[in-house]
């Protein structure tokens, strides 16, 4: 099976090996075409973002204004902080030049004046590896001023590696841009969107590391070739991250639409001790979890997972066997989003803490069915009411885990409403709370 992003070539991270294997030829090819031609090919290839929302990459690039009195920027998102997600670092380690080449092509396509690759601060090692690769690329003249000489034409661009300081929220695109600007990593209110008002208020495009690493092969081998790999509506290969209760955890590059069960059993070697699967989160910890008995026949691509009631996210598959304590799992997930909420907007700032406190109480064996309903209500009150999608990321696992595993959770709580006496009178006479119909 063909691997596009992480081919099995020894020492591909070395620039000479990369060049020997056809590296930086896509860049030359791209420069012989117009920026619009490049955008067109990426559009036709059907390439979708690998950063979580599976947005069409070519379409996003085409939002950039063609004429602008302001400079334009490109940001590459390597913040990779979602629990269950560890794919981008493989690219940084094993194929950094393909990322650099993709970045250069995208920068050319949107006519960016500068490109930033933002990497989470905890990736010390991978930042070093990328910096080394980038220094080599500069030396060879692929990046920066020397580009014009080396590649002909009039376009040149600098790439800067920007190190995060340990905040999941800085992976959210507008928080990432604030972070690069040296501000607090607060997501921005949208609209305006980055293509109008991005980095330093200038038109900006932002893509995930894996998304960009797919670009050189698309230019080299053609969009038609790419569009035929995997599921037509979400073509290409995907770096699936397998973790949790599997025998062979790791990153697997496979065509989109690969069966979830194949990933777990064929590639991941099944569940240790041949235990049954209780729960699978298919796309990183923020995505709606599936019940073990639900996963049969589910294909791993954006459209199929949507139809199955969940989402591809970052394709980080977390497998949990039958002995897993789901209350602990959910409490731990809730703790993560509580810890990472930037605290800017009210529902997420306050709601993440409330959910965590409720879950901790349930985990201590002090929960009631009332608390389960309350959790769903709190999660629903966060969803859709926040500045950024961390609100949903925090609410989805709670709402879906509890609704999908209601039977499980009911065994972990008492039917008696256990609330402090002082509040009892109040809460029991609780009037109907006006709520939007609970989404499912």
């Amino acid at each position: 099976m063909e691997k596009i992003v992480l081919p099995d070539i020894k020492d591909l991270h070395l620039i000479d090996v990369y060049i020997q294997n056809g590296g930086y030829t896509a860049l030359k090819k791209a420069f012989s075409q117009t920026p619009d031609d490049i955008i067109d090919q990426v559009k036709k290839s059907g390439l979708r973002g690998r950063g979580g929302a599976a947005f069409f990459a070519g379409l996003k690039w085409s939002f950039m204004p063609k004429t602008s009195s302001k400079p334009k920027y490109l940001c590459i998102n390597g913040d990779e902080s979602e629990p269950g997600s560890f794919k981008d670092r493989q690219i940084l380690e094993f194929n950094p030049h393909q990322l650099i080449e993709g970045t250069l092509i995208e920068a050319y396509a949107i006519q960016a004046n500068a490109a930033y690759i933002y990497i989470r601060g905890e990736y010390h090692k991978w930042i070093k590896l990328l910096e080394k690769a980038l220094a080599d690329a500069y030396e060879y003249g692929f990046v920066g001023d020397k580009m014009k000489e080396k590649l002909g034409g009039n376009y040149s661009v600098n790439i800067y590696v920007h190190k995060g300081a340990g905040a999941y929220i800085c992976g959210e695109e507008s928080a990432l841009m604030n972070s690069i600007e040296g501000k607090r990593g607060y997501p921005r209110v949208k609209p305006p969107f980055p293509a109008q008002n991005g980095l330093w208020g200038c038109p900006t495009t932002i893509n995930n590391v894996e998304t960009v690493a797919n670009v050189p092969p698309i230019i080299n081998k053609g969009w038609e070739w790419f569009s035929k790999i995997g599921e037509p509506k979400h073509p290409g290969t995907i770096l699936y991250g397998l973790s949790g209760h599997v025998n062979n955890p790791g990153i697997y590059e496979l065509p989109s639409g690969t069966l979830l069960t194949d990933l777990i059993y064929k590639y991941g070697g099944g569940v240790p001790g041949n235990k049954k699967i209780l729960c699978v989160i298919p796309g990183g910890s923020s995505m709606p979890p599936l019940r073990g008995e639900q996963i049969e026949g589910i294909k791993m691509d954006a459209e199929s997972l949507k139809a199955a009631g969940t989402s591809i996210g970052t394709a980080g598959i977390i497998v949990m066997d039958e002995d897993t304590d789901l209350v602990q799992v959910l409490a731990r997930i809730a703790k993560f989003y509580y810890h990472e909420s930037c605290g800017q907007c009210t529902p997420c700032r306050e709601g993440t803490g409330w959910m965590l406190k409720l879950l901790n109480r349930i985990a201590k064996g002090e929960g009631s069915t009332h608390d389960l309903d309350l959790l769903i209500s709190v999660a629903s009150n966060i969803e859709g009411n926040t500045i950024c999608a961390l609100g949903e990321a925090a609410a989805w696992p709670v709402r879906f885990m509890i609704t999908r595993f209601r039977d499980y959770f009911e065994t972990c709580v008492s039917r008696e409403v256990t609330i402090p006496v002082a509040n009892k009178v109040h809460s029991l006479r609780h009037t109907e709370y006006p709520l939007a119909p609970i989404k499912d």
Binding site: V189, E340, Q344, T346, N381, N423, Y433, P434, L435
Partner: protein, 561 residues
């Protein structure tokens, strides 16, 4: 004008206006915490979420631009349930310490909890705790528990005061406000954050725990701290001014006032050293006297000098009405040409926002109503010189502590044979005076002052004296005044026997055989409007609450050195 529909009503808007802005212009307030008309949009509180047809999610009214034909619901089930949800979130970790919170009574969170809250809490967990009673600067105290992280205070410092001093730190429900390392919240406008903080997280260290706000009566007035003339509310309990707050006037001060104006310009009103009746110097010391006795003394003393031996010094602190009558008195009754007033200028006080180098409220008006030397008369320097030389033997000074302002004058002015002074408080100047008349402060009288832009603005009595009758003058009342309380002792101890300077002069001229026909400050102003071109067409009604411009072409701006 394009229109959109809000809850079934057509709302006109201008391109670029947000839903909340356009609604406000049409008199509809969409609930909001973080949005403030003159600050940038932060969109963080989410209480303004509204439902918009054809939009999949609720949108915030404070950042969503109004568009032609847009159909917006702020009271639909969805919008209400989102608002209730946000209110519940705001309240879960809130200490709900309204009974001991200074903000209670003027708190947006409290108000919205009444109107949009659920009335009971589903939150049974331990609340998050943050630092309390943190002094952010010399004048502002912070209570982290009460903060709803709306960022108004931060944006105020960055955007209005233009000194970045505050920031958020930490994340999630640990977020709190601090000053930047090595900095304090000490910009000259710092206390405005206590007004715009929607909750009791930022309170005035000057006002903390002095009163519950509903005990205060509020009177629209003008700051007398400098010639900007910021519009303010004088807030009074039990006949004592307890705080000043800025009052919106987009032509003058927008929503703001400076800290100097707020904390340094009212304490003299309540002070112990107020002049509380006329005083006459007897055997070297000032002694209390009756009004008639004082008028008679002043009258006979003044009559014993020739008009060229008498000089008049008006006041940039007094009203136009006061200065107008002083000028009339000097020229018509005494007949002197020696008249001027003292400029108080402090270049280091002025800035390019509100504060003006002319630190008096009415130098423009004093000059405009006639406080300047007549032809061949002496100006201030001339008067001082003539006092020194003994040519001027009597000085009549209205409301200015000139000796404190220039201690060198002490020796010179002790040479005077007659020194008559109107003063609000005993001071360095009254120490030299032979006759002292008790003048009302700006908080105790009707009148007008003119700011450095030539804008006439009105003062109204907020504190009762023997001279102003609460009922007749229509003075404002607090809730407790209206409904009766043990604190309501307006009619008792605190009233002082002070009068507006114009009224003192009118009394004195009566004693000198010349009756002025004015019964009220308003009547004096009508005469000003009739006789001085710059004021023509103006009356108290036209000036209203927000002031009116003088006709500037007909008056030269006072040159202040």
């Amino acid at each position: 004008m394009p229109k959109f529909i809000l809850d079934g009503k057509e709302i006109e808007f201008e391109q670029g206006q947000t839903i909340i802005q356009a609604a406000k212009k049409s008199g509809i307030t969409i609930p909001h915490f973080c949005w403030h008309e003159s600050l940038s949009i932060s969109g963080n509180c989410r209480v303004c979420l509204v439902e918009i047809e054809k939009m999949p999610k609720l949108a915030i009214a404070c950042s969503t631009l109004a568009a032609e034909g847009m159909v917006v619901y702020s009271e639909s089930d969805k919008a209400l349930s989102a608002r209730n949800a946000v209110m519940e979130f705001e309240l879960i970790n809130h200490p709900l310490d309204c009974p001991i919170c200074d903000e209670a009574g003027e708190c947006k969170l409290q108000d919205y909890a009444y109107s949009h809250g659920n009335g009971e809490s589903r939150f049974n967990e331990e609340k998050a705790h943050k630092d309390k009673r943190v002094p952010l600067g010399p004048l502002v105290m912070f209570d982290g528990d009460r903060c709803i992280s709306c960022s108004r205070c931060i944006r105020f410092c960055d955007e209005i005061a233009k000194e970045s001093q505050l920031t958020f730190i930490k994340r999630g429900d640990r977020v709190t406000i601090v000053t930047y390392p090595g900095k304090q919240l000490d910009n000259p406008y710092s206390m405005n954050v206590t007004d715009i903080c929607p909750v009791g997280a930022l309170t005035s260290r000057d006002f903390r725990f002095k009163a519950r706000v509903w005990e205060l009566s509020s009177t629209k007035s003008i700051c007398n701290g400098c010639s900007r003339g910021c519009n303010i509310n004088l807030e009074v309990r039990n006949n004592q001014v307890l705080r000043l707050t800025p009052r919106q006037n987009d032509e003058v001060n927008s929503f703001w006032m400076c800290d100097h104006g707020r904390v340094n310009t009212y304490k003299f009103i309540n002070a112990e050293d107020r002049v509380d009746s006329p005083y006459l110097r007897r055997k070297g010391a000032l002694a209390r006297s009756g009004w008639d006795e004082a008028f008679a003394a002043a009258s006979s003393e003044l009559k014993s000098y020739s008009k060229n031996e008498i000089a008049f010094i008006g006041s940039p602190y007094a009203t136009c009405e006061d200065n107008f009558i002083l000028s009339k008195f000097a020229t018509q009754i005494i007949g002197t040409k020696h008249m001027d007033f003292i400029r108080h200028f402090n270049t280091s006080f002025g800035d390019n926002f509100l504060r003006q180098g002319d630190v008096t409220p009415n130098s423009f008006g004093a000059k405009a109503v006639g406080i300047f030397p007549g032809k061949g008369g002496l100006d201030l320097d001339g008067i001082i010189k003539a006092v020194k030389d003994g040519q001027i033997k009597a000085v009549y000074l209205m409301e200015d502590d000139m000796i404190a302002f220039n201690p060198e004058l002490q020796e010179i002015f002790s040479k005077l044979d007659l020194f008559i002074v109107h003063a609000t408080n005993f001071n360095k100047t009254t120490e030299l005076a032979d006759i002292v008349f008790p003048a009302s402060t700006y908080a105790e009288k009707h009148g007008t002052i003119v700011n450095s832009d030539g804008r006439v603005q009105r003062l109204k009595p907020a504190v009762a004296t023997f001279d102003v009758d609460r009922a007749l003058e229509g003075m404002s009342l607090s809730r407790w005044d209206k409904f009766g309380t043990k604190f309501d002792s307006w009619a008792e101890g605190n009233k002082r026997d002070a009068r507006s300077s114009w009224r003192i002069l009118a009394g004195l001229s009566g004693a000198m055989g010349h009756k002025y026909k004015y019964g009220t400050a308003e009547e004096v102003f009508m005469d000003i409007a009739k006789s001085i071109n710059a004021f023509s067409g103006l009356d108290y009604e036209v000036i209203g609450e927000l002031g009116a411009k003088l006709k500037l072409d007909s008056v030269t701006k006072p040159v202040i050195a």
